[in-house]
Each structure stands twice: as C-alpha cells, then as structure tokens.
C-alpha cells in the first residue's frame, strides 16, 4: 500500500481506504506489544519529537511508548520547559526543530490550526496530537480501531456521542472519520454545548439523552471540562450530571451489547459513573491499549520510509 501523506493533521481529509490501511496496520502492531521484547528496529535512527503545549499524560506517554517500541529516539518538549515559557514563538520553535532534522513532530496545542501552521514551515512529518477545539485524529482512529476490534465491522453501526460537542476535538475527529466509514452518528448534549450548525457535519443532533442511548451500538461519552460552569455555558455540574451523566440506570434502556467509550481522563460521577466506566461493556482501557499500537502504525506509515 502506498501511504503518501506527509502529515496527519485531521481525519476530515482521510479517505475510507486510508483509514482502513491505518486500522489494518494497527493490527500487527498490537502483537508487538504482547511480546516479551516489545521492540522492533523499524524506526531506528529516526527522531520523534513530542511537542506538547498542553498538559497530557496519556496521549504523550502513548506516543512516547509507540516511538520507543519502534526504536526511534523520542524527545518530549512540554509547555513548562524553558524556551516555550521564555516566549519563543511557535514558528521559531518549529524552525529550530526542523534544523535539528527531526523526522516526526507530534504537536498538541491550544490553538486550532497550529499543526497546519507547523506543517507549512517544517519539512518534518507533523502529527496532530490535538489542536484547540478542532481535531484529535489519533484518538478518533484508535476509537474506530477499538470498535472494529469488538464489532468486526464499522459501516452501519449507530454511534451516540454525548457531551460538550462544541468544544470537543475528539467529537469532531470521530464525526469526520465515522461518517467516512459509513457509520450513523448522533450527538447529544445541552443546547448551549451543541454548535449551531452541527447537523451540517452529517449527524443527527438532540438534547434528549434517553433517545440517544436507546438505539446506539456505541455510546461515546466526552469529558466535561469543569470550566464550562464558570463560563456560563451550563448552570451547574450537578445539573449536567443529572441530565446527561451516564449511569447504570440510564443504561437500562440501551441495547444489551452496547459498547461504552470515553477518551479520558474521566470525571468520575459527572459525565460517567464509575460502575459504567469500569463495567463489562466499557472499552475505555482497550482504547488506551490500542492507542499505542495505533500510534505505532502512524509513525511507521509516516516515518518508516525514505527519510528527510
């Protein structure tokens, strides 16, 4: 297969066959993580930089492990480290990293469009690790892989995404990718957290949680950022939890084989009850495990070939 992209900036421009290629490649990388020696020499001598302007445990660690299992040299730069704090602009940081001949830059940044900015200015491959409220493509791809792993297929499945859709890059990336793979997507949350034109993304939208739960094959719960209450978008966390929190009682009306997903980290008791998060239909830990393999697959596809 020929994966010819220089960067992974979002799922919106990935075709169905590109997504399928990524998911297929992920399969073989799952196996590497089950070995005793969890290392292959494929990216030996390549440099992967994790440039994280926002704090993150799981995504950054996941990329770090993925790179190291491929024998790449992985460097972590976080926003608390010196030059970023000194006020070095994103452009200068990018030029510096390019001058050091880094093969891949994984970037997470609070401004939507920051990875696109980077990709314009550096010859390295750029992977979007989450930009503002725009996209988080690796999360969506590992979500799709996890669903396919459990259900065997993707097309025709009904997915309900619950929560703060307006500010969620995970929601956007999933919506774009799921629509491309022929899945039926519905979003649900309080009106003030649903973007005005969300239906134009090809989804059904509603504010009734029960309706969203009832016919879903997969329920994806989004993290509610606790600042939304201060910003006046919802009256209180308590009310949000009452109206939109996913608990066992609400799940009684769900399909018996429904799958529960959450990108993490979870706010226990607010958007999801601990019993649900840790219950038998929860795929939350599978998502994390698959995340490493998915990221290995992407690093292989972007950096495994002729280098800089």
């Amino acid at each position: 297969m020929a994966f010819t992209r220089k960067d992974i900036l979002g799922t919106q421009d990935l075709s169905a066959s590109e997504i399928a290629d990524v998911l297929d490649a992920t399969e073989s990388f799952i196996e590497v993580s089950t070995r005793e020696v969890k290392k292959v020499p494929t990216l030996r001598g390549k440099t992967v930089i994790n440039l994280f302007y926002e704090p993150s445990t799981r995504t950054r660690t996941s990329f770090e492990i993925a790179g190291k299992r491929l024998s790449a040299d992985v460097i972590n730069i976080s926003s608390s480290s010196s030059s970023v704090v000194k006020g070095e602009s994103l452009k200068d940081t990018a030029m510096t990293l390019a001058a050091m001949a880094s093969d891949v830059i994984v970037v997470r940044h609070p401004a939507s469009g920051a990875p696109h900015f980077l990709a314009r200015h550096v010859p390295s491959a750029v992977i979007n690790g989450g930009d503002g409220t725009h996209e988080h493509p690796t999360q969506a791809l590992l979500d799709l892989f996890t669903i396919r792993q459990r259900k065997g297929t993707l097309a025709g499945l009904r997915v309900s995404i619950i929560g703060d859709i307006a500010h969620s890059r995970v929601a956007r990336s999933n919506i774009f990718a799921m629509r491309t793979m022929g899945m039926d997507v519905r979003v649900c949350g309080p009106a003030s957290l649903l973007p005005l034109h969300v239906e134009s993304l090809g989804v059904r939208a509603g504010t009734d949680l029960d309706a969203a739960i009832r016919d879903a094959d997969v329920i994806m719960v989004l993290r509610l950022q606790l600042e939304r209450q201060e910003q006046g978008l919802i009256p209180s966390l308590r009310e949000y939890s009452q109206l939109y929190g996913l608990n066992l009682k609400r799940l009684e009306q769900a399909k018996p084989d429904v799958l529960i997903m959450h990108p993490g980290p979870i706010n226990r008791g607010i958007e999801i009850a601990p019993e649900v998060a840790e219950g038998p239909y929860s795929l939350i830990l599978d998502q994390v495990a698959n995340g490493v393999a998915l990221r290995m697959a992407l690093l292989y596809l972007l950096a495994g070939g002729p280098g800089l």
Partner: protein, 192 residues
C-alpha cells in the same frame, strides 16, 4: 501480474515439490534425532504454507505435533528506507516460547540472505533458541550475507536478472517452481 510468456523454465512441478518436502522432513528428523524440542516457524507468506506442510509430514512420520509459528519480517527489513511504498505489515504469531528450542526457519526461496537476516533478528526478540536451522524449497545462489541453508529442496543456479517464483496452491492456486526473466523494477517485490 506475471504473464505466462515471461516464464523461462519450469524447475519443479507439484510432484517434485512434494517429494522435496518429504525428503526435508526426514532430514530434519534425522539430524535432530527426532522431533523433541523442535518448532517450525514459517516466514510470510509462502514460507508459512511450506512450514505447515512440513509439520503435517512430520506428524505423519513420527506421530508427533511440532509447534508451528508465523513470522512477518516487514518491521525488520533493511530496505525500508529505499522503498516508496509501505509494505503491508502482517501479524507475527508465535504463541509459544522458543527459548531453548531448536527453531526450524522455513522459507520458499533463499537468495541474498537478507530476509533470513531479518528473520533471525526478529526471532531473537522472542527469546533465546538453542539453535536455528534453515529449510528452504529453493536456493538460487547470489548470497550477499554469510547465510546458508541447512535443508534445501532444490539448488537452482540463476542469473541476477532472473527471478525464481514458487507458486503454491494455498496462495496461488497451482503448484510450480519457475524461473522468470524479470524486467527491472524498483522496490516492488520482496527481494529474498
């Protein structure tokens, strides 16, 4: 896609292939004094089918089941940087320990030896075998690394611009080993 007109010569037919595999199975058992401690690991893709057939033959001869595994060497290749596409990565499946076992590595054609080198690297990540022996259906010469096969189905001297194709019914629908006149193509085939 190879068109029949490019076939230069047939080297083995179905009967010859089967006889060679039978002989190799006996040789393995003879050299290793039985099947104790043996494991068979086939290199994707056609080495896998050959390994399975060897396991069946050994079972028929000795009545013993030898563990069978599959190794995909894509991630260990030394020519990834020179290719312009990404070889499809398949699963490696070695669901048993190889430490202190004698591994019989199986492949269809031995050529430069680089594939075997990659397979050896991969195997080392799975454990520390007592020994590794190599069984191939065809050895066509032109080694670029100091690698040799322990068991050979047929020695086929070839010129560099030729290539040897092993067609197996599980994969290709027919049983034949042929020599082809190969037009130059960059990075499109796995160079054994």
């Amino acid at each position: 896609m190879v068109t029949p007109s490019e076939v230069k010569a047939e080297v083995m037919d179905a009967v010859a292939i089967d006889r060679a595999l039978t002989r190799i199975a006996h040789e393995i058992l003879e050299r290793n004094k039985g099947s104790q401690g043996l494991v068979l690991i086939g290199i994707r893709t056609r080495g896998v089918h050959l390994a399975r057939r060897l396991a069946e033959k050994i079972k028929a001869i000795e009545g013993e089941v030898v563990p069978l595994g599959v190794i995909d060497i894509t991630l260990y290749r030394d020519d990834l940087r020179r290719r312009f596409d990404h070889p499809k990565v398949e699963r490696t499946e070695i669901p048993f320990s190889i430490t202190e076992r004698c591994v019989i590595l199986v492949d269809d054609v031995l050529y430069t030896g680089r594939t075997i080198r990659a397979a050896l690297d991969g195997l080392m990540d799975f454990g520390r075998p007592r020994s590794i022996q190599l069984a191939v259906l065809v050895d066509r010469g032109h080694r670029e690394l100091p690698i040799r096969a322990d068991y050979v189905g047929r020695n086929v001297p070839t010129a560099r611009q030729e290539s040897v194709k092993v067609w197996l019914r599980e994969e290709d629908g027919l049983e034949q080993v042929v020599i082809l006149e190969r037009p130059e193509s960059r990075g499109s085939d796995r160079r054994p």
